[in-house]
Symmetry: C2
Subunit: 194 residues, 2 copies
């Protein structure tokens, strides 16, 4: 998620599939009632056997009320065969790359619309390096997670390269997932056993 | 991802859908050739219009070679209607919860098998709180990402509650996604514009 914040220099018009006037109106409403900005997102996970888990993402709270996605989205995660899993879905760490790609790209769509730039194409490739000596418990000097993530964006539109690149940079500057991945977040885990 | 590291106290047998002997054999092989532990995971994203992105997760490297999932997995991310999106998929920040749920639960499956504990059911609920004043650019005092994530696991199996709870805690201790989310990771973003 990611949006443009400064007042538009032009009358906003729908662009890139973004309802730009509605987006600016939303920002204006939240500016006047900051409590509407508090959101809570949720996922429910169910173990399917082995290393396979299916989660459901359906309801969330925000803008002063409860909401449901237009459908209950489900997704799978698993380990691949080389790690003794059944490969029923992407690995958990690939899902982190997916989260980052979708956040940065959504921001690019919104920000380009807000700046009056028509986009033709946005693609990205993401890579994450991980040394499994961490999670395999073979070394306490190797972290469990990624050691680094690299993203490369290709962006084409009706603006000069520097304008297009600045849109990507603004998306990065206001990306929720980029912030979480680079800065970390407190995570608490409770267990109800038996 | 998450695996048990100490030598098994019993002859490992397949359990919980986990090929426990193969898992221990894999750990043994990697212990002798640590370079096999280096993995690279990847995702390719494509902007679909508005705030909708579709990613593909297919190939990855590791264990000294290139691998492909048994199919090219695709997934969508979008913003919901209340945030002016078309709701074609979960939000990017919900995907972070999905990544965490699938990582911790996969670890629970593996660790329980390694410890000879038969699991009956594992479910989890995750919540993430976010104040959108950050990404909306309405406050520089509010971070862009989640302010906190809470996960609650319910686990049932043929072991005392404290044994089941210890499995969850060991999964947390060796979770790649838990590490990334709580400690952060360097992320570099390159742009090819025009």
């Amino acid at each position: 998620m990611n949006m443009r914040t400064a007042a538009p220099k032009r009358t906003p018009v729908p662009l890139n599939g973004v309802d730009t006037p509605a987006l600016f109106a939303t920002i204006g409403v939240v500016a006047g009632q900051p409590e509407l900005a508090k959101f809570q997102f949720r996922a429910q996970g169910k173990w399917m056997g082995g290393t396979h888990t299916q989660t459901t993402m359906s309801g969330f709270a925000g803008a002063g009320g409860e909401h449901s996605h237009k459908m209950a989205f489900t997704a799978d995660g698993d380990h691949p065969a080389v790690l003794c899993g059944a490969d029923n879905g992407p690995t958990p760490v690939e899902w982190l790359l997916h989260a980052l790609a979708t956040c940065l790209t959504a921001g690019i769509g919104n920000i380009a619309a807000a700046r009056g730039v028509k986009l033709d194409e946005v693609t990205c490739t993401l890579e994450g390096d991980i040394d499994l000596q961490g999670i395999l418990g073979l070394s306490d000097k190797v972290r469990n997670g990624y050691q680094g993530i690299r993203a490369k964006f290709d962006i084409k539109g009706d603006a000069p390269p520097e304008t297009l690149a600045a849109i990507v940079r603004q998306s990065q500057a206001r990306s929720a997932v980029f912030d979480v991945l680079t800065n970390g977040v407190p995570v608490s885990i409770a267990v109800n056993a038996g």
